[in-house]
């Protein structure tokens, strides 16, 4: 069992470590800039968002092996659905919560 796996994904340990380090860096950057108030609020929001999207791509490539599947059509369908749902969560919440700026 174990041997089969390492043959299937040669060098996967290396890619896991790279992915892990990249994820940590991409988490530290937004934390650092927010704790230090490095930029204005609006720019901070954009920095967090960009880091989140990069994190998302790294997860897909390094941990979910998006490029290695035998049946890519399932993958594409799942990612399309995932993006629709993420869009609903993020854009929907932002839109709904704009009422807060009108109230305050």
């Amino acid at each position: 069992m174990h041997d089969d796996h390492s043959e299937k994904h040669p060098g996967s340990t290396v890619s896991y470590v790279i992915g892990f380090l990249l994820s940590i860096v991409l988490t530290i950057i937004p934390l650092y800039v927010v704790l230090n108030h490095s930029f204005s609020n609006m720019i901070l929001v954009y920095v967090i968002m960009i880091m989140a999207v990069l994190q998302f791509l790294i997860q897909l490539v390094f941990f979910m092996h998006i490029r290695e599947s035998e049946e890519p059509h399932y993958n594409i369908l799942a990612i399309a659905l995932g993006i629709i749902f993420v869009f609903a969560i993020v854009a929907g919440s932002a839109w709904i919560m704009t009422f807060n700026s009108q109230v305050q």
Binding site: S93, I96, F99, Q102
Partner: protein, 650 residues
């Protein structure tokens, strides 16, 4: 913390519960020891990775939780029966409606649908187990210990009291300093991990483990409904996990995500909660739709009408469920544009459901209908769900919702769809698959009594609540003055609740009676079924199928039976092969115990205990990661012996 705050002893109801819990536990320990059954319990149940046994354990847990949640409901209805009642104090009433909601949705409806997933899906698609049997056991034990943690709050530390949705700021530390809300958050988190794992497990099982020849569009509709439900679980449950995690950070680590001050936004919790909460109702009702589709088709002796439109509407609902959540808080004041969007999206989601109702009706049209118990539940469902759906469309109209919001109209509506949809659906599934799980049918006479008591009790209980909603009775009030004119409606409603409780008693009676008196099902196909689960014996052997069936098109077993009845039919020579099978494992159970210890510690802010529990969780994960010898081979001889013992010649 002082002892009298730790063990709740003041209230006579809770004291009674304390005593009965101790007595029941002592009795169970005595019986297991006296009959020397501890080894049996460990080997056959606690360490099992067999989907059928896991399904049975989900089912028993769900029935126990239905009882607990039902007792909560009866207490509430008694308190509200007459004005100025003194049965429950306001604080106690708050706790009871909170645990009623939490238990009924998360610890009754969820395990009940998971029971049906486990019992039917692998058999329906001709598989020997789920894709990840070990993970399946982990899911169950996380649910089980999550449920245990929540129920423990009743006697230790105090129950949560901020309603099943736990809105801040009421659920924040400022207004709710006790451990109750921690119990709520942590128990849902622990069982939520299990739910997500189940969603992934069954999605992969359905996509990857179907019998050769079964294309996606050949799958039974229950399997399709589970697939849709799993998509929603995978997409929606993480949102709840995040929302509850942030709330826990507020309470545990002094964060300010949802507080009133320091830039927190309580409405963001409401938003996130319903982003899970609305899809959740589809998670629990879609499998019920699947069960009704199976039942209607089998007991009308017809193929289902409009298979493709059934599949399309299931999938539409599973994606569309994600775009309606704001209708739970129209009155927040998000503005006309937001409310209009979600109002229209809510009305639109009624369309695929409507399509399904017509398909069920047209399947029955000119069918040879057998009025069995599963069929009765299905017919009861159609009427009940159409009423619930219609009031749902009323609620979707945002301006009108300002009138209905937070009234008993809403209470009546969601019980209408959840009891009429999910509960009736699971009862239909229970009576339909019972012979497959246990090897005997349930007694139909007692079942019909149970059905009519539930069905009549439902309308007697909840129809007056629609009226009460219009008359201004709001949700969650624990008493009311006698000049409101609500009294007669509340009296009728309480009577209805007790009629349903009587229905439950009949079901328990039915199960006990049938276990003793009903004949064994030796055919494996007591209903003249259409799908593969009826092709194996009842109960199915632990490997499900001695030979994996070959499938040609929909309703595979029905076609097979037609072929067999031809005069020139020659049975195919089937060759037995050794089966690779997963070994039992104690790790899922131990992991559940560790999660329970961690959850209990964190509930009381005993960080040391929490750390010990989490180290245990890490240790079990570590142990499993380096376990390579997880499978064994069932030799052909043993398969032959088992099949012969079940009366099948191979």
């Amino acid at each position: 913390m002082q002892t009298q705050h730790f063990f709740i002893v003041g209230d006579p109801l809770i004291l009674g519960a304390d005593i009965s819990i101790i007595l029941v536990s002592a009795a169970i320990i005595f019986v297991l020891t006296y009959f020397k059954k501890w080894g049996w319990l460990w080997r056959e149940w606690l360490t099992t990775v067999d989907h059928k046994k896991i399904g049975i354990m989900y089912f028993i847990s769900a029935l126990l939780m239905l009882f607990r949640g039902g007792v909560d409901a009866l207490l509430m209805r008694l308190q509200l029966m007459f004005p100025n009642m003194n049965l429950l104090e306001s604080e106690h009433y708050n706790e009871i409606f909170t645990t009623h909601g939490t238990i009924m949705i998360l610890f009754m409806a969820m395990p009940l649908i998971f029971a049906m997933f486990n019992i039917a899906v692998p058999l329906q698609i001709g598989a020997r187990d789920v894709a990840y049997p070990f993970l399946n056991a982990v899911s169950f034990w996380l649910f089980f210990f999550g449920a245990l943690l929540l129920n423990l709050s009743f006697v230790i530390g105090g129950s949560p009291n901020a309603s099943w949705w736990g809105y801040p700021p009421l659920s924040e530390l400022t207004f709710n300093p006790g451990p109750g809300e921690n119990f709520y958050i942590l128990s849902i988190q622990i069982s939520g991990i299990g739910s997500i794992a189940t969603g992934i497990n069954f999605l992969i099982t359905i996509l990857k483990m179907r019998a050769p020849g079964m294309r996606l569009m050949d799958m039974p509709l229950f399997t399709w409904s589970v697939l849709s439900s799993c998509i929603v679980i995978i997409a929606a449950f993480p949102v709840l996990t995040v929302a509850l995690f942030l709330l826990f950070m507020d309470r545990f680590a002094g964060a300010h995500f949802f507080t009133m001050t320091h830039g927190g936004d309580p409405m963001m919790y409401v938003n996130l909660f319903w982003m899970w909460g609305h899809p959740e109702v589809y998670i629990v009702v879609l499998p019920a739709f699947g069960i009704f589709s199976e039942v209607v088709s089998v007991f009308s002796k017809k193929v289902i009408f409009g298979y493709t439109s059934m599949v399309v509407s299931l999938l539409l609902i599973s994606v569309y469920a994600y775009f309606t959540w704001v209708h739970h808080f129209f009155t927040m004041g998000a503005g006309a544009d937001v409310n209009t969007f979600f109002s229209i999206s809510t009305m639109l989601i009624a369309i695929p459901t409507g399509v399904k109702v017509f398909n069920w009706l047209l399947t029955m049209y000119r069918g040879r209908i057998r009025m069995t118990e599963p069929m009765l539940w299905t017919l009861g469902f159609i009427v009940c769900f159409v009423v619930g759906g219609a009031t749902g469309v009323m609620l979707s109209v945002a301006p009108a919702d300002y009138q209905y919001h937070n009234s008993y109209f809403v209470v009546a509506h969601f019980h209408n769809v959840l009891i009429g949809g999910t509960v009736f659906g699971m009862f239909a599934g229970m009576t339909y698959w019972w012979p497959k799980i246990f090897g005997f049918k349930l007694n139909p006479t007692l079942g019909k009594w149970a059905f009519w008591l539930w069905n009549i009790g439902f309308y007697v209980c909840f129809m007056p609540q629609y009226a009460l909603g219009f008359m201004g009775m709001t949700r969650r009030i624990y008493t009311y003055p006698d000049d409101m004119g609500w009294t007669p409606y509340n009296v009728v409603s309480t009577i209805g609740a007790f009629i349903m409780a009587l229905g439950f008693v009949f079901q328990v009676w039915q199960i006990v009676y049938s276990a003793k008196r009903m004949d064994r099902d030796v055919t494996g196909d007591p209903w003249d079924g259409h799908t593969l689960e009826w092709s194996t014996t009842s109960p199915a052997p632990y490997y499900n199928f001695a030979v994996i069936p070959k499938v040609e098109g929909r309703d595979a077993f029905w076609k097979e039976k037609k072929k067999r009845s031809q005069p020139d039919y020659k049975p195919e020579k089937r060759e037995l092969k050794p089966i690779h099978f997963p070994k039992n494992s104690g790790i899922p159970f131990i992991m559940g115990v560790c999660f329970f210890i961690a959850g209990f510690g964190l509930t009381f802010h005993w960080v040391w205990l929490g750390v010990i529990g989490l180290i245990g969780v890490a240790a079990t994960l570590y142990a499993r990661s380096f376990q390579y010898d997880t499978e064994y081979v069932i030799p052909v001889e043993e398969i032959k012996k088992t099949e012969a013992a079940l009366g099948r010649d191979i």
